[in-house]
Symmetry: C2
């Protein structure tokens, strides 16, 4: 099969969120984003879109079919990935979001997030390699010694080296603290590393000259659990002080996983020190800081998973829409019994339109949620030192929204792909269209970077109570302010009322969780209901931001002539918001009633009764 | 990878539904099931389970990896399928449900359905071949001439020939009436067939000596639409009057589809008469009866899809349960901050238990719904001629439940597989476990044999109004009777109250649909809400049958000693029913409110506004 590009994106939509909704202009041209204006930002978006369409997109289907190969202990990525990697680094896409003082281009996170969405959407498996590499490099940039930064950062920023994050072990999955990989300090200050890691993304490949593993391990004698873990730089090939490559470092690929999707991404089991010759160096100078060092970047990693989700879901939606506009099947509903009635395109059938509008609303609302988080990050940075209270507010929203972004986007991406397949019917089940691959690729998003239940527990067990509950309070107040301002909106007022009821439901359930946390006999209701609450709060956020978009779109449309090409785009915003407000927002209060019901059946059912 | 059997089933559960809930004993030993007693039925279940575990199950994973191959115009099924096919027919599994006077064993459909579930669960792709073959044979048995029955049935019942149903064309998917395949009558009474069909399951393979295609085509000059379609017997190799094989019949495999799942099942594009030499014979003696002939068997075909769904979902659940009982990860919730706390199996974590109980309730409730449909069929047969009013009631429930069984089971199977993957975490995303394959295999169930929207339209557009609404009325009355009888049940009374509210919600929404059907400006709300109503009615049915099981289990448990091994099984019934009543049944009324909201956003959104 010839390489075809099946990635679809809407630059108009991306611009709308960045500039019309999030008002990125307010930040551009000022510290720390001095170097950036609207023109530069738009140019980067267009460049990225071109690279995605021309280079990455055509390699997505072929990479899925070909997969990675493990030969002679080395992993080969699919054909074309090596050149794409080279081009990606040459174009500078991966240093966009890195601060200027760390050697990057210092773009706002809202902008670099859109770039990451486009890269991930065009070729999710490929984008995993530079994605993990960037995470590893940033960890070294934050916590490494000057000498480590000197030795590793430039090669990693330029794509000569890649990087990994090695946390998971066979017996330590979600329970990271059960880590058994050991580090033994040598007289020269290096550490001998021994142990096995699994599910290591980009664990080995032929795209870069070297792979810099960041390995979580326990130094001999360190405390049990997460508090005794340290982080080590363990290159596949040793790097001399002058930066040149030395001997291989006793890191073996024990296995290449066979997965449902992301076939082009090398998911490896790695063995460190099987021959006793694996050397690592501690990140920074102090032991037992592995977890906080890892966690520092966790927010960003989780944002990236959210972006992967919306990236795939968006292209699935746009592919389904394209198909629905071309495929003729059956007559119009009003003439369905008349065999002489002309066939219509399926976009005209009510159920297909329902599926399309459902996908559109979810995709656009989730993207707005993700980029809102990114914009909070940017505003926190811009305000730091100038208005610390406001900066703290923005950083608080980053904390609060991160688990929603990671979980809701990943769960919904999978569901949106399933809906897109349904729009295509039998054709959607075949490899003739990309959605089969999208669905397979997206399933793991709900699992990696902390399962969605871990996210939900982070939300209800930690984030709701942060700063004495201030972040949640600000979030609820922001929505209440929106409600007060727009409840009498002529076209949207009723929908805003639905938002208000959802806001009250979330506020009520948050209090219920607080009550449970203070009652030992009810504490187990927290994990039993955490995912439900995360969904409620996500739907509230998505519904709010869709209505916000609809208000903005309505105002913008009123200023344009009736024939302006943007009228259709802005009208779409109204319908997406109305659809979501009428079909999804009411379920928030419904779920709150289930929370209040305090069902204990899953807690009480005896093991043996399960089957 | 060595062939391993990963199919899991619970014979105890299957027995419970058949004998304790559906009281199959009342039918056994009497016409038309004279030949069957409980012992024979149990023996068949055990035999089927053994064949599934020993022969079919081990070929499921290998068949998925190997797939089918198209070589020299012929399709080869995966290794081992040919022997499995032979064994299946030798054991007589495929003639179980065929009436005695048609050459079968005349087992009740409830029993043959369980057999089909086991076959489909052990190896879904394999079971497609005999499944379609049985459908084709039954069509000939019902509508063929005596000479056709004589020539085709015995070879098809014995597995020497297989069969297909050829409806779909590239330009006629869900819109069957757009069929372009032509049939031209020849002077000798045969018809020359020309045209192409696609998505033909088991369209070609090497399991049988011949493939008997049943092809929907339009005789020259016949009316447009579905009313002008006729059904033809078109064997791959011509069959002489004495039953021996003659010349090839100009049926070519134009393509073998590359699909997301069901890799072991050969989905073909077929070209009939490219060389002008394809001969078919009309099924029966009258033209233009193709659609009613196809539809006669549609109920059974849709039941089979429902069975495929529950078959896969059940094994996905039992695999996840097995994993959750073995996999240790993290400490108990109450000691989660203590690194010295012992690790526990994940079945002890509240969120995992929630997922497991959710899957269990859905799987067992859906199976109960499907087998209830089958039992209605059996009772309609048993009562025909004796008590025609009662027989009509049972047949009416078959009609009403068929779209629910096909759609809800298929949609839920996919979701249950996704939940099962989540229980396993990263491991669930790999080919080390069967659930990745289950998820890929199951996605098409919501599409074929009439998409789930077609089912929903069949329900709201046809089945609700059949017999002046009598079937729906009986259905609602049955539930009301159950509510009246058990609303004060000590353990289940509250849950029965939830059932009552769901019943009222379904009754109310049914009236809303009736109103819409009488108002031209509201008619389009029907397709826009049909799937939602189908879900509501399915959840009502599942909730009811789970509570019915819980009542029966409670009574049975009370008669047993506290240490009896069945106590845990019966306790499971109570928790499944309570879980569903508290977490799913309330959403039925929630959905009814959305129906009542008459949202028109998806109907009104302009095409151009979609993106």
């Amino acid at each position: 099969m010839a390489a075809i590009n099946r990635y679809r994106l809407s630059l108009r939509e991306l611009q709308f969120v960045l500039f019309e909704q999030l008002k990125l202009n307010e930040l551009l041209g000022k510290p720390p984003f001095d170097a950036w204006g609207e023109e530069e930002a738009l140019s980067v978006l267009k460049q990225t879109a071109r690279y995605a369409q021309e280079v990455l997109g055509p390699l997505s289907g072929s990479g899925d079919r070909e997969g990675c190969r493990l030969e002679g202990g080395k992993v080969q990525a699919p054909k074309g990935f090596k050149d794409a990697w080279k081009g990606l680094y040459e174009a500078g896409f991966k240093t966009l979001g890195i601060p200027v003082d760390e050697g990057g281009q210092g773009a706002p996170r809202a902008l670099s997030s859109v770039v990451e969405e486009i890269l991930a959407g065009a070729n999710t498996a490929f984008a995993m390699y530079p994605g993990l590499s960037a995470g590893a490099a940033e960890t070294i940039a934050h916590f490494g010694t000057p000498e480590q930064k000197q030795r590793y950062l430039e090669p990693m920023y330029s794509g000569r080296f890649s990087g990994t994050m090695c946390l998971t072990e066979a017996e330590a999955g979600s329970d990271v603290g059960a880590c058994r990989t050991r580090a033994t300090k040598n007289p020269d200050g290096t550490y001998s590393i021994s142990g096995g890691k699994m599910f290591i993304t980009a664990g080995d490949h032929d795209l870069a000259e070297n792979v810099v593993h960041l390995v979580l391990a326990r130094v001999d004698g360190a405390p049990a659990g997460t508090k005794g873990l340290s982080l080590f730089i363990v290159p596949k090939i040793r790097v001399r002080a002058d930066g040149s490559l030395g001997e291989p470092n006793d890191v073996q690929v024990a296995r290449l996983e066979e997965k449902m999707g992301l076939h082009g991404s090398a998911t490896c089991q790695l063995a460190f020190g099987d021959d006793g010759k694996c050397l690592g160096e501690l990140v920074g100078t102090q032991e037992n800081l592995g977890m906080p060092q890892m966690f520092k970047l966790m927010n960003f990693a989780r944002l990236l998973v959210g972006l992967q989700g919306v990236a795939i879901a968006s292209s699935a939606y746009l592919n389904a829409l394209e198909y629905a506009r071309e495929r003729k099947q059956g007559p119009d509903f009003k003439r369905f019994k008349d065999p002489s009635a002309p066939k219509v395109t399926i976009v005209q059938h009510a159920d297909v339109r329902r599926m399309l509008l459902d996908m559109k609303a979810r995709v656009e609302g989730i993207r707005a949620m993700i980029l809102t988080l990114a914009a909070h990050h940017d505003r926190a940075l811009a305000l730091a030192g100038q208005d610390d209270a406001k900066a703290a507010y923005h950083q608080g929203q980053v904390e609060l929204l991160t688990p929603l972004v990671k979980s809701y986007s990943s769960d919904q991406a999978f569901q949106i792909c399933a809906t897109a397949i349904q729009v295509l019917g039998g054709a959607g089940y075949t490899a003739d269209h990309p959605i089969d691959q999208y669905l397979r690729d997206s399933k793991v998003f709900s699992i990696y970077e902390g399962t969605n239940h871990i996210q939900a527990m982070d939300l209800v067990g930690r984030k709701l109570g942060l700063a004495g509950g201030a972040h949640l309070k600000s979030f609820l107040t922001d929505i209440a302010t929106f409600v007060a301002r727009h409840q009498n909106h002529p076209a949207l007022g009723e929908a805003v009322g639905s938002l208000a009821r959802a806001q009250e439901a979330v506020a009520g359930s948050a209090k219920t969780f607080l009550g449970w946390s203070q009652s030992p006999e009810k504490a187990e209701l927290i994990p039993a209901n955490a995912n439900r609450f995360l969904d409620m709060m996500s739907e509230l956020t998505v519904g709010w931001l869709l209505l916000d978009q609809a208000v903005i779109a309505g105002e913008a449309a009123a200023k344009l002539g009736a024939e302006h090409p943007d009228q259709a785009f802005y009208a779409g915003k109204k319908y997406a918001a109305l659809y979501f407000a009428r079909n999804v927002l009411p379920t928030v209060a419904d779920k709150a009633r289930l929370v209040a019901g305090e069902d204990r059946s899953a807690i009480e059912v005896p093991d043996a009764a399960l089957g």
